[in-house]
Subunit: 358 residues, 2 copies
């Protein structure tokens, strides 16, 4: 690795202190000396040793993201959002994923401790006690999509309940009365909230409805299996609401394959609005979660905490969702083919908003 600040100092004929000052843009150094130092440093290809710097500044310029998994477009988008925001602030991003159980999550949490200035945690199965145990109190952290309510932690949630509620309501309003819900993994916060929202809407509606819940685990394959279950039924439900888009797409595929037409024979909706959702046939009606924004927002909240660690923790923020009506649920009341709406990030869709930021 070789070349240190001392070498630069020697070559420039100044002290290490001046080199440090010049390179870090402090103002108490002559323009001329700074010029000389920068030139020398560049010539020598000097790169500050970040560990040494971190040791004394107690800053790593790095934030960590603890994710449950990395599979599929949801996490892809999430990381993209985080990365974007981090880059804008000159922060590095350390990712860690695949934490099947609590032990792995604990190990990951431990390992990150001290390597990062702040932590973004999305682990739908960790609870407050777990965090108290393994997360150092002084390390700023933001929890995403978590069941943890403790006021000690900053949290940012998707409006899972509201989104599922609105979507169900939308379906009911359009006359759907017999709806099957494809659920997510057991113990997953998002999954259970979405199911709860679905149920609440049914209850709120009051009228006569029918519903059932199929099991899934958020993977395309589980959606496909659910689709096969549907196909095997003597009397199929009128509508399927999958707890995420990947399952909806898997289910759609099973239906397509069997020649069951969507939405004519059965309507289908998802949740998340992953990028691919608008490109399947028929395009998927879904609950839009601005996934990248979620990551970005979480990072910004984290940065805020890092900058003023003593500020009281704002109460849990919830990111609103909106319903995006595409063809898969049957055409909306307004009719029309919506063709011009189906492509492009900025296109407008029929929308219904959920509660909004709380």
């Amino acid at each position: 690795m070789g070349i240190t600040i001392k070498d630069v100092a020697k070559a420039a004929g100044v002290s290490v202190a001046s080199v440090s000052r010049a390179l870090n843009g402090h103002d108490n150094v002559t323009a001329e000396t700074r010029q000389r130092i920068t030139t020398v440093a560049r010539g020598l290809r000097y790169v500050p040793h970040s560990a040494a710097r971190s040791l004394v500044t107690r800053r790593t310029q790095t934030i960590g993201a603890l994710l449950p998994d990395l599979f599929g477009e949801f996490f892809s988008e999430l990381i993209r959002g985080i990365d974007l925001a981090a880059r804008a602030r000159g922060l590095h991003l350390l990712v860690s994923s695949s934490h099947g159980d609590a032990n792995e999550a604990a190990a990951a949490l431990r390992a990150m401790q001290g390597r990062v200035d702040g932590l973004l945690i999305m682990s739908p199965h960790v609870d407050a006690a777990f965090l108290d145990d393994h997360l150092h109190m002084t390390l700023p952290a933001v929890l995403m999509n978590t069941t943890v309510q403790a006021a000690r932690y900053a949290t940012l949630n998707i409006d899972n309940h509201g989104g599922a509620f609105a979507m169900t309501q939308h379906l009911l309003k359009r006359g759907h009365r017999d709806i099957a819900f494809i659920g997510g993994p057991d113990g997953n916060f998002d999954a259970s909230e979405r199911l709860a929202g679905f149920r609440a809407a049914l209850t709120a509606h009051g009228g006569k409805t029918k519903s059932q819940v199929l099991t899934g685990d958020f993977s395309e394959e589980s959606g496909y299996r659910a689709g096969q279950q549907l196909l095997a039924m003597a009397k199929r439900p009128q509508t399927v609401f999958a707890a995420n888009d990947m399952m909806a797409i898997g289910c759609l595929f099973a239906l397509n394959q069997a020649g069951v037409r969507v939405p004519q024979d059965i309507a289908l909706t998802g949740f998340d609005d992953i990028p691919i959702a608008r490109y399947v046939s028929p395009p998927l009606t879904t609950v839009r979660v601005r996934i990248a924004d979620l990551g970005q927002g979480a990072l910004e909240q984290l940065v805020a905490r890092m900058e003023t660690p003593d500020a009281p923790i704002a109460r849990a923020r919830t990111l609103s969702c909106e319903i995006v009506v595409r063809a898969s649920c049957g055409l909306s009341a307004g009719g029309g083919t919506h063709k011009h709406n189906m492509v492009g990030r900025s296109s407008r869709h029929a929308r219904e908003f959920t509660g909004g930021e709380s």
Copy 2:
């Protein structure tokens, strides 16, 4: 941050050296003392300061991944593979992406220097001179999907050319004679290799064929636009070969939307075999790249270099692809519906292998 190794030493009534030895599993320490120290350390919730450690050991236990982008399932899968392999070795993963131009890439490269023990670089537009300029020679690095041939760098490539060649050959063998190719971004190594493979196969075939190239940039949207161009043509090609799956899916959507049937009216194939490819309708015939394996393999190669930096660099490895025939290109010679083949990670498909590892 508070609690250091000194605190542990004091509390356990030993010297810092013993604490260090005990906690790092050195053997020259009594079982009894080690026991005591570990207990105390745990009780105090001592976490070693990694920067201090890195400073003296000159190791960060972190590897960096430099990616051009994070959008879509391809990168998702790639990161997943890298993360998996890194985790298995107790290495942390620092990601950095969105390097539109060379300047950004240079800055990212610089910033990573010194924070990582090794670097995984996928930046389809960097060349050897660029690396010589910005990459410290002593930092182990593995280049993925790069045009760089320099023997100084370890590289791991997808067999883009072979894959595209094989796919084109497959299409020709099935009687397709008029094929449109949707290309990737200008200057992108993968894109140009795939196009070259396509052309080479046409040339090799010798017989009378027709072809054209539509422009794309690897995004669904560009595939959609290409699809619209196709639709607008007086005489449409018989077959479309998109340089990646995302574009194929975008194109498929445009065709579906217009009521043009795939594969009856027009055949369609892609490249990458991203997870979603088997779940669109019709399922996409494509060139399978074991994306996660690519990431995993690159990481392993990197680790090898880190462990023995002086070993001569193995010549560029190329990861073989295989053709996965699903329904979108018209049924394969064998006929049948392939229904049982379309789902599940381990299902067998009609396959044709490309050159394999060189």
